[in-house]
Amino acid sequence: MSVVRPYGDTTDDGMVQVSFTLPIPPDARAEGAALALARKMGLDPATVVHTRGVGPDFTFFVVYGRLTHSVDLSEVPVAERDFPLLTPAEVNREIRARLRRRMVVLGACIGTDAHTVGIDAILNVKGFGGEKGLEYYREMAVHNLGSQVEVDELVAAAQRMHADAVLVSQVVTQRDAHLHNTRELADAVHAAYPSGPRPLLIVGGPRFDPGAAVELGVDKIFARGTTPREVASYLAHTLAGAAA
């Protein structure tokens, strides 16, 4: 079956759960508004199962209903891994064989974001999810600049160290901070490398959409639950591959 619908307790019953707050007092009108909104989302029938006034001016709703929409899996853009998953040994071999020198990897948390756990999970030997971080890879020279790094500092460092790849983490997403910062970074890098080879630009963070790389002007986006090996494999595949 290529077309799927949500599953509550029977095939194709289409059941979904929704919750939201409306900036109006809890009354019959509010319930009506919630239902109307649910219908616009495609819930039909929709039932408001919970209504709770939050202070005098807001109302929180829980709605259940049958979703009229469905998805054709054959039309779903899948962010499948487009590179082979290698072992650390294979990654090192690839780099040695193709790049014929150690790969220079620069990592940082830009802007005012101080969330380093994510980038450290990828870079530090300690690693993540049972996998060792990039520092563990003999053929990689990893420089972790830490957090709150200004974009131009980072670009300067990249040029100074002849970085092959620049890895940046963005965890704070309120007001799309991560998107703004990423675009700013992309512009700066492209400006700094008007012609000729430039380092691979990789961003990561829990709230990124892996599909948005092109749109944000970077080469690759890694999101929730990324493991170091995925990143290493991507680097080996892309850089070493290119060099070959």
Binding site: G8, D9, T10, Q17, T47, V48, V49, H50, V62, Y64
Partner: protein, 526 residues
């Protein structure tokens, strides 16, 4: 972690329960029902239904009743007819009788002897099949093992379609369910026959049929082997066909059955005499099948208040225990029910829950109590519901409950979604793993809030038992003592299916189970 209750008070409570229950048992012993008789035929091997889905056991019992009455039981007329060559076997006899082509009579003298013997052999054969399924279960448990720990995790599926139920039940087992219950379509309790075959059209539950039992048990056997852990199957011996369902459960190796002495009366408006009579025979079969019963005290707290009605739960548990043991069930088969139904907005509600749960635990130390989740105070606020279920799980762990029925955050909304069940199981796992052993540090102060409350409830239970002893249980039920449901003794569905036994009444199955039958046959059968 128990309460130390005053043991003479506890003994008094049990003695009062006996005095309240005995007259009801005597009444049940003096009667039979259409469903009891049909159960006898089912155990003797009769199954199937006519084109309209009316089962052959119904046809045969109705025919016998029409011609010679049921006060003697179906056994004598039926096996007499067979011996007289009216038909080659029960099925043929049923079909012919449906066509009005059988002459039944009440055999006497020598004929009666032979008929009795033949019936006994047939009954023994049936009970032997039930026993065989029990042995089968014991073998599988010996091979695969029981759940690693208490409480057993009990999950419900209720899609109405056995073919949706099966994958959901298997998914539930894979995610940690030790017991899977398939609840029944809203209507089944009121049907005076057991539907046939695999069914797909239940409302808020799936019909209990022999075939559905078989399909689900087979599916669970598969996961049991896959998981290396015997996953138990539960259904409901309840409603107008209680004894027949009990028989089918024994024949299809179900492992637990919901079976309460009063649920049908209170919540299905089934006639009290009918219920008590059906129940006694159903429990005798459960005892033989090695099935664990679950009683329904939890239901009372959905219609009555869980604090002011707490003692009615205790009284009902004591009565269920008395009736169960009288019917031959052992302590390990008594999944006495209680529930986490106190208004969560009541101050100290959680401590009150602990007090009530501890009381049950301490009153019935050897019974695998069935701990039911919050339902009445669940609302569309699924987040709050998920939290309440977490505290329900904690209370279960702290008070050492035996069977934990997993609560669903969507209790007030829908019959559980697949995802609700998964979330619910992870809730249980978190609480049991993170805080399960907290009992070590949880010591109700001897005169503290919890111990005091537990003793108060026990005291109220004893007072109520005194009152019931004076007025009789039927009066108490008529007055709405349990769950605030008023059910007069002479009302309710299925009354016309109840008959006073005649002198020469014969129930070959009961005779074997009660050991009053000729042991020879029994051995012959075993």
């Amino acid at each position: 972690m128990k309460l130390d209750l005053d043991q003479t008070t506890v003994a008094l409570a049990r003695e009062l329960a006996r005095r309240v229950g005995e007259p009801v048992v005597d009444m049940a012993k003096a009667h039979t029902t259409t469903s009891v008789e049909r159960a006898v035929l089912r155990l003797a091997g009769l199954s199937g239904a006519d084109g309209d889905g009316l089962p052959w056991p119904n046809h045969l019992v109705d025919a016998v009743r029409a011609q010679v009455g049921l006060q003697h039981g179906v056994a004598l007329p039926v096996w007499d007819a067979l011996l007289r060559g009216q038909a080659g076997d029960l099925r043929e006899l049923a079909e012919k009788s449906a066509a009005g082509a059988v002459q039944f009579r009440l055999p006497t003298g020598r004929d009666a002897e032979v008929a009795r013997a033949a019936a006994g052999t047939a009954a023994a054969a049936g009970l032997t099949r039930v026993r065989a399924r029990r042995t089968e279960r014991e073998a599988m448990i010996a091979e695969l093992g029981d759940p690693p720990r208490r409480p057993w995790i009990y999950l419900i599926v209720a899609t109405g379609d056995i073919y949706e139920d099966i994958p959901q039940a298997q998914a539930a087992a894979r995610e940690g369910a030790d017991v899977v219950a398939v609840i029944r379509s809203t209507g089944q309790s009121l049907l005076d026959h057991v539907p046939e075959g695999a069914t797909r059209e239940g409302y808020a539950g799936t019909y209990a049929t022999a075939e559905n039992f078989r399909l689900m048990r087979a599916a669970l056997d598969d996961v049991s082997r896959e998981l290396g852990r015997y996953v138990r199957l539960t259904n409901y011996a309840s409603g107008l066909c209680m004894p027949e369902i009990a028989a089918l459960a024994g024949l299809e190796r179900l492992d637990m059955m919901l079976n309460d002495s009063m649920y049908g009366i209170l919540f299905r408006d089934i006639n009290p005499l009918r219920t008590f009579t059906d129940q006694r025979f159903a429990r005798q079969i459960h005892a033989h099948a090695g099935i664990i019963i679950n009683t329904g005290e939890d239901n009372y707290l959905t219609t009555a208040d869980a604090v002011s009605g707490a003692h009615t739960v205790t009284v009902s548990q004591l009565l269920n225990e008395y009736f169960a043991k009288e019917a031959g069930l052992a302590d390990w088969q008594l999944g006495l029910g209680h529930a986490f139904e106190i208004d969560p907005d009541l101050p100290d509600s959680f401590r009150l829950e602990l007090a009530h749960a501890l009381l049950a635990r301490s009153l019935f130390p050897d019974a695998p109590l069935k701990w039911m989740p919050p339902t009445k105070h669940m609302t569309g606020d699924i987040f709050r519901g998920y939290l309440l279920d977490g505290f329900f799980n904690l209370a279960g762990a702290l008070t050492g409950q035996g069977i934990l029925l997993v609560g669903m955050m969507t209790e007030a909304v829908v019959t559980p979604f697949l995802s609700d069940r998964d979330l619910a199981l992870r809730n249980v796992r978190y609480v049991l793993d993170a805080a399960g052993a907290l009992g070590e540090d949880f010591q109700p102060a001897p005169d503290g809030f919890i111990a005091t409350r537990a003793n108060t409830v026990l005291g109220e239970a004893i007072d109520l038992l005194h009152r019931i002893e004076r007025d009789s249980l039927l009066t108490a039920i008529g007055e709405g003592t349990f769950g605030l449901m008023r059910r007069p003794a002479d009302r309710g569905r299925g009354r016309d299916g109840v008959l006073a036994k005649a002198e020469d009444y014969l129930n070959p199955v009961a005779d074997l189970l009660e050991g009053t039958a000729d042991p020879a046959q029994w051995k012959g059968a075993a």
